[in-house]
Amino acid sequence: MLSVLLCMMRRDLVLAVRRMSDVLTTLFFFIIVVSLFPLGIGPEVEILRLIAPGVVWVAAILASMLALGRLFEGDYRDGTLEQMLLAPQPLSVLVLGKVLAHWAVSGLPLVLMAPLLGLQFGMTVEGLGVLLVSLVLGTPAISLIGAVGAALTLGVRGGGVLVSLLVLPLYIPVLIFGAGAVEASVTGLGAEAHLSLLGAILALALCFAPWATAAALRISLD
């Protein structure tokens, strides 16, 4: 089972590395969206520091949603996905491998870039640390939940816009606890509670999302 998972991840990672531009597009989208906020709101450091966690989190959610289309699209077009459905290995494990690889190329770069953007917003070192941890816990959950939406809208016209309509409401708890963790640590409340809840959401998503995604794929490729 584990070897199937690893094999799937390795395959998707190789495919992603061969097409580096896709990864960079997501990353630059994230950077640009975050950079637009000071331009829209004004350069006062006090305000920027206040809104930084929310801005970074919302931008991360939008960026990873932008990347969702690529999760199954390529395999769907060339028929690989159909072979995966027929494969003797459980589909949910294959899906989990795909989602984890997808997170590594679309989520992880955002996580690594986030502290730099936080610095631009005048965040403290402590706040940056919590931001990093919250993103590490939150972005995989976002990829997992988003996979359900991506699978449901596979091959549907206007799928890109539709997927945002489906998954954005489901992202709200992750957003609240992710941005809330940073805010709580800045105001001195301590971020443990928020981070624990984020971890709980991630654990739940790890258990149920691959399964729901597999069911959605079976519906889409019926």
């Binding site: 359900v148 206007g158 799928g159 309509l165 489906l166 409401p169 708890p173 959605a216 519906i219």
Partner: protein
């Protein structure tokens, strides 16, 4: 019991449910009309003027039942969707998709009347309160459900995909609700609290329950009406629909 003699599974087939729905619909529509008239009369003339809120509070008799129904319908819709996915019954899926527009309508109504109520009471149309926010998110969930169904051309795939989304949504509803509530209590920006339930006069409570029942009956009637259309549309190539159409001519 006489009811035990009925073969309930018979009515899970669209062909036998279609005439049954046709027979039940006028009853529920009639009940809804009577209850609405009674409820509106009570809410305008019987219920006393609130000593603090004056006459404006009367919008509550629409607002609260609409909010209750909006949540209730989502759960019922998810249950039908689950039945449709598990037992592969066509009718359950049709019921789920017939419920969605009514649920979205009640969610919108609750938000709208809430805004109208909020303006004279708190002096603002909208506060980012936990309840208001989660009701808004519920509206998003309804819209997502309906637009996914509308975007897929194959009706079988459309109902199954939207059904799965409804189930994923219903699992998330409590998580969303509690996260929004916690988010709200942490911020405490607006000092308006909706949580303190005012002790209500019995007559007000009764009026509200009558209105809720009226909305409930209306929902059943309109859903039966809509599901009949849905049945005809999806089963238009089947024999019994052709026969029915021949009879009508």
């Amino acid at each position: 019991m006489a009811l035990a003699g009925i073969n309930w599974f018979k009515y899970s087939s669209p062909a036998s449910f279609y005439p049954l729905a046709g027979k039940m619909m006028p009853w529920f529509a009639g009940l809804a009309t009577v209850l609405t008239v009674v409820g509106l009369y009570m809410s305008f003339f019987v219920a006393p003027t609130d000593y603090k809120q004056g006459e404006a509070y009367r919008i509550m008799f629409i607002h609260v039942p609409a909010a209750w129904m909006s949540m209730f319908i989502y759960v019922v819709m998810a249950v039908y969707a689950a039945l449709g996915l598990i037992f592969n019954t066509r009718l359950s899926a049709m019921m789920a998709s017939s419920l969605a527009p009514t649920g979205a309508m009640f969610t919108f109504l609750a938000l709208w009347t809430g805004a109208l109520w909020g303006k004279p009471m708190w002096g603002t149309w909208w506060v980012w309160d936990a309840r208001l926010t989660s009701e808004l998110i519920l509206l998003f969930l309804y819209i997502g459900f309906m637009s996914l169904e509308a975007a897929i051309d194959d009706p079988r795939r459309a109902t199954r995909a939207s059904g799965l989304l409804a189930i994923v949504g219903v699992v998330n509803v409590p998580i969303i609700y509690f996260s929004v509530q916690w988010w709200n209590t942490l911020h405490q920006g607006a000092s308006i609290s909706l949580d303190k339930a005012p002790s209500m006069a019995t007559i007000m409570l009764v009026t509200m329950l009558v209105m809720t029942l009226a909305f409930w009956m209306y929902t059943i009637a309109i859903v039966l009406y809509r599901v009949r259309c849905e049945i005809l549309e999806r089963e238009r190539h089947s024999e019994w629909v052709t026969e029915l159409m021949e009879e009508r001519k």
